[in-house]
């Protein structure tokens, strides 16, 4: 199927000359990271224009620029040829641009009718509420999309697909001209997907333009007229969906060579340290995962957002204990029900969300570095400050943490240095297995290279490292082997030599 050409789209779009919506020369930086670079994109009335790219390619940022949720550093957005000045979610909404995100943005405690009314009713905050009209409108909108949902139900009690339908009803209410859908079918069944496609069909017949983001490349052939590929914040060109096959798309998404140089060193690979067999956790959505990682080895874990990578790490670390399967560390069976068990077994986990889960911002560097080993720096429950200071100093200098000293609060450090402190905390536990979840996300290039150097040092010291990353270049550049996940399962494991961006994406997209 990967080589097959797409069928002709079901409906040939009406040819309209001027684009309905146009983004021109958009550039956006977040700190040192360039999220978008000279991106141009246009949408015609009555068209479905698909936007594809791997995680972090800039799709979400582009959408946020279009809806006014973020302001671009350069470039303009035009609607009907006129530049939208001072764009904001409120303004774009008033102009008829509506977006439906992957996670439904509903208010769970309000009713369906109230949710729909919130964005669609005219007037300010002081307006009087007409409950009857509100209910009637909601009913009307829901019927229009063929959804049988009681407008009086609490939105939080609806299933995910039902919430998605409410979102669509919400979007349709405001006489929508441009509809943006971010992975709308991710949580829908096939029948619901069909229904959605029918609704989109009606919309385009009304002359609306649709921007459609999806990782299900095969469905694009059915629904899209044109496809634009984003990679590393740049457009890789726009193509007619009818003339493009999946293989071409994957090649465009992946790119051919690595854009960065990684300080990967070959180190001695030892015995198997982490041996996971048949790991299943219903709570985490992990199914039958088996993995082996040897001493000195870096196992990269790739996959799309939501593929279950973080959940796997949380299961290994005892945050969502496994229902079945076994975890062996250095040959002995580890029963892991809570983080303390994992730490005792020699597993360390540096979580993804550094600010919320990694460091404790209000505590000084010293206390952060020693938080996981309080037992070891305490005698009879008393903290030995000499031991604590010595340990903290050691790790600060070994990892090259740039700080005003070990008593400086962690919040005063840069992102990259905070991450080093988070890593220091876990290395201090002298683990056998180190799990790093998105270790270099959102830190600048220099700090990133240093984190990679540290990973190599740790591997050389005999640690087994599991590195979860959404950045393909990082996965390819740092891993000795690559495991790819999709839907809570491992869909393939490849050696460094065999792993390519294309092969990883194929396994990740399924």
């Amino acid at each position: 199927m990967h080589t097959s050409k797409y069928n002709r789209p079901l409906v040939v779009s009406k040819a309209v000359a001027a684009p309905l919506l146009e983004a021109h020369g958009i550039g956006k930086r977040y700190g040192g990271v360039r999220a978008l670079r000279q991106v141009s994109f246009d949408l015609r009335a009555g068209e479905v224009h698909a936007l594809v790219g791997e995680n972090g390619a800039g799709k979400s940022t582009l959408i946020r620029v279009l809806t006014g949720a973020v302001q671009p550093d350069e470039g303009v957005v035009r609607l009907d040829g006129r530049v939208i000045e001072h764009n904001s979610p409120h303004r774009s909404r008033a102009l008829g641009i509506a977006a439906i995100y992957q996670q439904p943005a509903i208010f769970p405690d309000l009713t369906v009718a109230e949710n729909i009314a919130l964005v669609n009713e005219p007037g300010g905050l002081a307006r009087r509420i007409d409950r009857g009209a509100r209910r009637a409108q909601a009913k009307e909108l829901l019927r229009a999309i063929g959804a049988e949902i009681d407008p009086e139900r609490e939105a939080g009690r609806l299933s995910m697909p039902e919430q998605q339908l409410v979102e669509i009803a919400k979007a349709l209410g405001g006489n929508v001209r441009v509809l943006v859908l971010d992975e709308p079918t991710a949580s829908l069944t096939e029948r619901e997907t069909e229904k959605l496609f029918g609704i989109l069909q009606q919309l385009r017949e009304r002359g609306a333009g649709i921007i459609y983001i999806s990782h299900r490349l095969e469905e694009l052939g059915r629904i899209a007229d044109r496809i634009t590929v984003l990679r590393d914040g740049e457009t890789m060109g726009t193509r007619q969906a009818a003339d493009t096959d999946v293989r071409t798309l994957i090649r465009l998404m992946a790119g051919r060579e690595l854009s960065a140089v990684f300080p990967k060193r070959a180190v001695k690979i030892g015995e198997t340290v982490l041996d996971v067999r048949g790991l299943t956790s219903a709570a985490a959505g992990i199914r039958d995962v088996s993995l082996q990682v040897r001493a000195g080895e870096i196992l990269g874990v790739a996959g799309l957002v939501g593929a279950g990578r973080t959940q796997l790490a949380e299961t290994l670390f005892g945050l969502t204990p496994a229902d079945s399967g076994s975890i062996r560390v250095a040959g002995s069976e580890a029963r892991i029900q809570k983080p303390e068990d994992a730490i005792r077994a020699g597993i360390a986990y540096v979580p993804e969300d550094r600010r919320r889960h990694g460091v404790v911002a209000e505590l000084p560097v010293r206390a952060n570095a020693t938080l996981a080993i309080l037992q070891r720096i305490a005698k009879g429950g008393l903290l030995q400050s000499a031991a604590e200071n010595a340990l903290a100093e050691t790790w600060v200098s070994r990892l090259g943490v740039k700080t005003d000293g070990i008593d400086a609060p962690v919040s005063s450090l840069s992102g990259g240095n905070q991450q080093k402190v988070a890593i220091a905390r876990w290395i201090a536990t002298e683990p056998r297995v180190l799990i790093l979840d998105e270790p270099t996300q959102g830190i600048d290039v220099g700090a990133k290279a240093e984190c990679h150097r540290i990973m190599c040092d740790l591997a050389e010291a005999g640690l087994a490292i599991v590195m979860i990353s959404s950045e393909l270049a990082e996965i390819l550049g740092m891993s000795d082997r690559v495991a790819v996940m999709r839907g809570g399962r491992v869909t393939g494991v490849m050696d460094r030599a065999a792993a390519t961006a294309e092969s990883i994406l194929e396994l990740a997209l399924g």
Partner: protein, 315 residues
């Protein structure tokens, strides 16, 4: 850290100004006996505020300490009346407090009841239970060895002050040097991070409530020995006084930041206001208004300084 120090400095300046005005307009305030009276009367509130500091540092709150205090006072009185030796009365009273605090802790930790809700319920429950039990009667006919712990007034007062000072010293030291103290800060400032670092967060939450309960029990005993009988309505409003002392002392109401030195400062400020008004000949009616203004000022100061800090950080 800096914002906290700033707030402490501002409060200390206010306090110093108040004392200076007193020295100028009513030097009688500084008579040894007056200072001593103020200290003895407020020692129990300080002890409770110490426990409250730990609870707030851990990101929780307990509004039931006033009711716990009343129950513990009556327990102490009844035990003494029954002829239990004083050291055991002290132990059992602290134990009764620990049990009441532990119940709060269990509700919050294992049943997931928000601490404000759980302790509000406990506040009403213990107060009403006591009302039903005593029928509003005071505990009278206490044995001679109970009042002033059998030391006589002068030495009894000294004993109360020594107890409070010792507890204060222990708390200052423990929060800095004991493993559990570090855990309290970590849990209060980033619970999830702490959990991921292998800190037993449930034990910490349960522990802080239990500790506050025990300290409340001790405070109740130290307060009761000043009188020849025990009111069953004791401790009303004490929870507000304790929480105010903590907040005025610069401890963040959302947890994670603060220390017991601040609480000592806060308790000292609150202790001085009412007698200062009396000495300055101002209507005591103003006491609550001034207290409220100080608390509000302290919190606004925190908001202003932290939001400025965050802006600087974002840049």
């Amino acid at each position: 850290m800096n914002a906290m120090r700033q707030r402490a400095v501002a409060i200390a300046i206010f306090w110093a100004v108040l004392l200076a005005v007193l020295a100028w307009r009513a030097p009688g305030f500084f008579a040894g006996s007056n200072i001593r009276d103020i200290a003895v009367i407020n020692a129990p509130a300080l002890i409770i505020a110490l426990g409250m500091t730990v609870v707030i540092l851990a990101g929780e709150i307990d509004v039931s300490v006033g009711s716990q205090f009343a129950v513990a006072s009556v327990v102490a009185g009844l035990l003494a009346k029954a002829g239990v030796p004083l050291p055991f009365v002290a132990l059992l009273t602290a134990g009764a407090g620990a049990v009441m605090g532990g119940i709060n802790g269990a509700l919050v930790t294992w049943l997931g009841v928000p601490s404000i809700v759980a302790t509000l319920a406990a506040m009403a429950f213990w107060r009403e239970l006591l009302r039903w039990f005593t029928q509003g009667a005071w505990v009278q006919g206490l044995p001679a060895g109970f009042q002033w712990m059998g030391f006589g007034q002068a030495q009894g007062e000294l004993a109360i002050l020594v107890c409070a000072a010792l507890l204060f010293g222990v708390m200052v030291w423990a929060l800095r040097n004991v493993q559990a103290g570090r855990a309290v800060y970590a849990v209060g400032s980033q619970r999830e991070s702490a959990r991921l670092a292998g800190i037993p967060v449930s034990a910490v939450s349960f522990g802080v409530f239990t500790l506050l309960g025990a300290l409340t029990g001790i405070a109740a005993l130290l307060d009761s020995v000043r009188f020849s009988e025990i009111q069953s309505g004791a401790g009303a409003g004490l929870e507000l006084k304790a929480i105010s002392a903590v907040v005025i002392g610069g401890t963040s109401i959302t947890g994670g930041r603060g220390n017991t030195w601040g609480t000592l400062l806060g308790a000292s400020v609150l202790a001085v206001i009412a007698p200062a008004l009396t000495f300055l000949g101002i209507n005591a009616f103003w006491e609550k208004a001034i207290q409220g203004a100080i608390i509000l000022g302290a919190i606004v100061l925190e908001r202003v300084t932290t939001s400025r800090k965050m802006k600087a950080h974002a840049r």
